[in-house]
């Protein structure tokens, strides 16, 4: 792609004019103040930028050992303090805290080149190069992978052609050392014409030296750009010159090129990416994740469930009785609403924590890039490149960041198609419902049922993808697979714990907020009479506004076997967020049959009885139909907001209609066929 072609890249996201004046990602924090120097982290994908950003700022932005983890700009404050290690005094006698410099640190999306072919790379170029001179970063830390120096230095060759202050931060020195590669950092510094520091962001080594190098460079004038030989205008010739510069730098800096023997990563990849074995291994890994998650977490869930529905509810009831509010609407709201709803959410904490740990281990190890390789053929069948697998995989955690992650794709049409498919990935909020229903209807086979729902999710994605490829995306050219495979790494406890905690906290914050609001809204609707003579708070739940509204919708789901208002109402609540499905069920049944909530595990029994009634004695196919409907219909309003931002209102509305049609059709077919056998 030539540089003029940059302007043709379709960008749907609104982008900031400079990194000094805006905060692109509000969730990632603000800078150190207007006067603070701005330092940008730049580098090829998967060189450790986000890990370094988190280590320097104490933030917790998304990290992962696969290309395309960062698609937005994150900002944070890097508080640098001179220490004996970092001070450049001849004989350091600085007081602790002396010479403290606060820096605004900006984490840019990874870019292989300053000639971008996707919106995330275009964003990096815009902020680093195209912004007005006074709005560019004061210093750029260019992360370079020492284990593949020539590969990483290509971007450096382009950056050094610009008038920018640059520090080269060499990562993956341990991987290079294992391969027998020995580098002379001083020689590399002389060859590339800027300071070079060896760091290990995962173990927080070399960060003081990096701080010292940055502080020194901020005070210096902007260096002259690396000169091009005169008369070269052809883009291929310019590239030749760049590779010549890279080769010279590698040659000057490399003391030992290491052995050419197969590394551990190569030996693992013989199986992990192999035909037949690779896809089977991928399925086995995913099955193990869900099996381990559900089986290990089950006893903890049961214990928490018993605690919330037993002693805690009983104690709260006794407290209300003691203050004269026994049997009042206040007790109903607190015990049947908040304790039942939030308590139900908290029972899923062990399960979510375990799931997040296992996924973090997979991400940090580098396996996910291999998963993109083995699924490439499948992705191409539905009109998408192998790279599109990565945002879809993110969707299995949460659909909202997955929609943003589609920015790693170069084509606007591919981004729209992927964004339409992401809602069919089974996010962790839906997992809670699958686990509850799996345990209630299938007992010890719950883990296999949950895994089957993930397989069903893949089948639906492929089916809808084929449908769209054969119609609206007919004739679409798919770019071939080109994916950079990072070396496998031993996951670190710190990184795994950090990623797990960020996700668990995010889930709890979102879910608890949603659940408290939803519980109050459901309680209010259940307290307002729609018919009969009862007053506010005294109405039988089946005569409330909540029930009457749900009863109007319920017949739509009768052909799918779950046409009761108790179940239909959870789907309406679930449109807002799937985290609230179980709590609204718990609330409805607790209000419907007050007093029974003290016996543990009764929610599953009541749901089973409800499905038995609504399905005419075929609860199993009805439960499967319900789970598939839950899997395929609109995930949550937050996902809709993300879709609207990325692909516009028209495609978002189209997506909602598509999801509802697919979900309802599948549920009806599953129930109608299933009732013939079960």
């Amino acid at each position: 792609m030539t540089e003029p072609a940059l302007k043709q890249l379709p960008l749907l996201a609104v982008r900031p004019p400079s990194m000094k004046t805006t905060c692109h990602s509000a969730g990632a924090g603000l800078g150190a103040g207007e006067d603070a120097p701005v330092v940008a982290l730049v580098g090829s994908p998967n060189t450790g930028k986000s890990t370094l950003f988190n280590a320097l700022t104490g933030s917790r932005v998304t990290m992962g050992n696969w290309p395309g983890t960062t698609v937005e700009v994150s900002r944070g404050v890097w508080r640098t303090t001179r220490t004996a290690a970092s001070c450049t005094c001849q004989e350091c006698d600085c007081e602790p805290g002396e010479g403290r410099v606060d820096i605004t640190l900006v984490d840019l999306p990874g870019a292989y080149s300053l000639v971008p072919d996707s919106p995330d790379e275009a964003l990096t170029r815009e902020l680093l190069v195209d912004a007005p001179v006074d709005e560019r970063p004061d210093v750029s830390i260019l992360l370079v992978d020492a284990s593949r120096l020539s590969h990483s230095l290509y971007l450096a060759s382009q950056v050094r052609e610009r008038p920018l202050r640059v520090v080269l931060a060499l990562t993956m020195l341990d991987v290079a050392a294992k391969r027998g590669v020995e580098l002379d950092l001083s020689a590399l510094s002389a060859a590339v014409g800027c300071p070079v520091v060896g760091i290990d962001p995962r173990r927080r080594a070399g960060l003081d030296e990096l701080a010292a190098a940055v502080r020194d460079l901020v005070a210096e004038p902007v260096p002259q750009p690396r000169p091009h030989p005169e008369g070269i205008t052809d883009s291929l010739a310019i590239d030749d010159e760049r590779f010549g510069w890279v080769s010279a730098a590698v040659e000057a800096a490399t003391l030992d090129h290491g052995s050419q023997q197969a590394s551990l990563s190569d030996r693992v990849d013989r199986w992990a990416t192999a035909p037949i074995v690779g896809p089977l291994l991928f399925l086995a890994v995913m099955w193990a994740v869900f099996q381990v998650t559900t089986s290990v977490a089950a006893p903890f869930q049961d214990a928490l469930d018993g605690f919330f529905s037993g002693p805690l509810s009983a104690a709260a009831g006794a407290l209300f009785a003691a203050v004269g509010l026994g049997g009042s609407w206040v007790e109903g709201l607190v015990v049947d609403g908040l304790i039942a709803g939030v308590g139900m959410l908290l029972t899923f904490v062990p399960l979510m924590a375990l799931m997040f740990v296992l996924l973090a281990l997979l991400e940090d190890s580098g396996y996910l890039a291999r998963a993109a390789v083995v699924t490439d053929r499948l992705m191409r069948a539905i009109g998408l490149p192998g790279r599109a697998f990565l945002p879809l995989l993110v969707g299995y955690g949460c659909n909202v960041p997955a929609i943003s992650a589609t920015r790693i794709l170069p084509s606007a049409r591919q981004r729209i198609l992927t964004s339409l498919l992401v809602p069919f990935t089974s996010c962790t909020a839906r997992l809670t419902v699958f686990v509850m229903l799996g345990a209630a209807f299938f007992g010890p086979q719950a883990g296999t049922v949950v895994f089957a729902m993930y397989v069903a999710s893949i089948v639906i994605i492929v089916g809808v993808g084929l449908l769209l490829r054969g119609t609206l995306w007919k004739g679409e050219v798919v770019e071939p697979l080109v994916i950079d495979l990072p070396a496998y790494q031993m996951p670190t406890v710190r990184l795994t714990a950090s990623v797990t905690w960020v996700r668990l906290k995010g889930f709890l914050q979102t879910a608890s907020g949603i659940i408290v609001v939803t519980v109050c809204a459901v309680w209010l609707l259940q307290s307002v009479p729609a018919r009969g003579d009862a007053g506010f708070g005294e109405v039988a739940v089946q005569d409330s506004v909540y029930s009457v509204a749900a009863q109007a919708i319920a017949p739509v789901f009768a052909p799918a076997g779950f046409g009761t208002w108790e179940t239909t109402s959870t789907l309406v609540v679930g449109f807002v967020a799937k985290e609230a499905v179980i709590s609204s069920w718990a609330q409805t049944f607790a209000v419907d049959e007050p007093g029974d909530s003290a016996s543990p595990g009764t929610l599953g029994d009541r749901v089973r009885a409800d499905f038995t009634e609504s399905s005419g004695g075929h609860p199993l196919p009805a439960a499967i139909a319900f789970m598939v409907f839950l899997l395929a219909y609109t995930p949550c309003v937050a996902t809709l907001a993300a879709q609207q931002r990325e692909i516009g209102t028209k495609w978002t509305v189209f997506g909602v209609a598509l999801q509802l049609v697919v979900a309802w059709s599948l549920a009806v077919v599953i129930f109608q066929v299933g009732r013939l056998f079960w």
Binding site: M1, Y112, S113, V115, D117, S147, R148, L149, S150, H151, Y154, L155, R179, V181, D239, F243, A262, S265, D266, D269, R270, T273, A274, P275, I276, G278, P279, A369, V373, V374, D376, R377, R380, G386, P410, V477, E479, P480, L481, V482, I483, D484, L485, A487
Partner: protein
């Protein structure tokens, strides 16, 4: 030097890339990854879906069959 398609290249053999990709979409990305005329590489592994993992400049890059067909290489004697 005519060379042969990278899809037909023997595994674990030092190769010289003698012909660039005919695929315009992939050309820029391949060049940035070091897969350009004159690059030394070897094919490490066949992958699911008919692709290959190649080693170039210390990097492991997975390439789909369409890319492999467009790249020609010669064995380094």
């Amino acid at each position: 030097m005519a060379g042969f398609s990278l899809a037909q290249a023997p595994l674990h053999t030092p190769l010289l890339l003698v012909g660039g990709s005919q695929c315009v979409v992939a050309e820029c990305r391949l060049s940035a990854l070091g897969l350009r005329r004159g690059a030394r590489l070897s094919v490490l592994q066949k992958t699911a879906g008919g692709g290959r993992v190649v080693v170039v400049g210390g990097s492991r890059i997975a390439l789909g069959p369409q890319v492999l067909e467009g790249l020609t290489a010669d064995v380094i004697a």
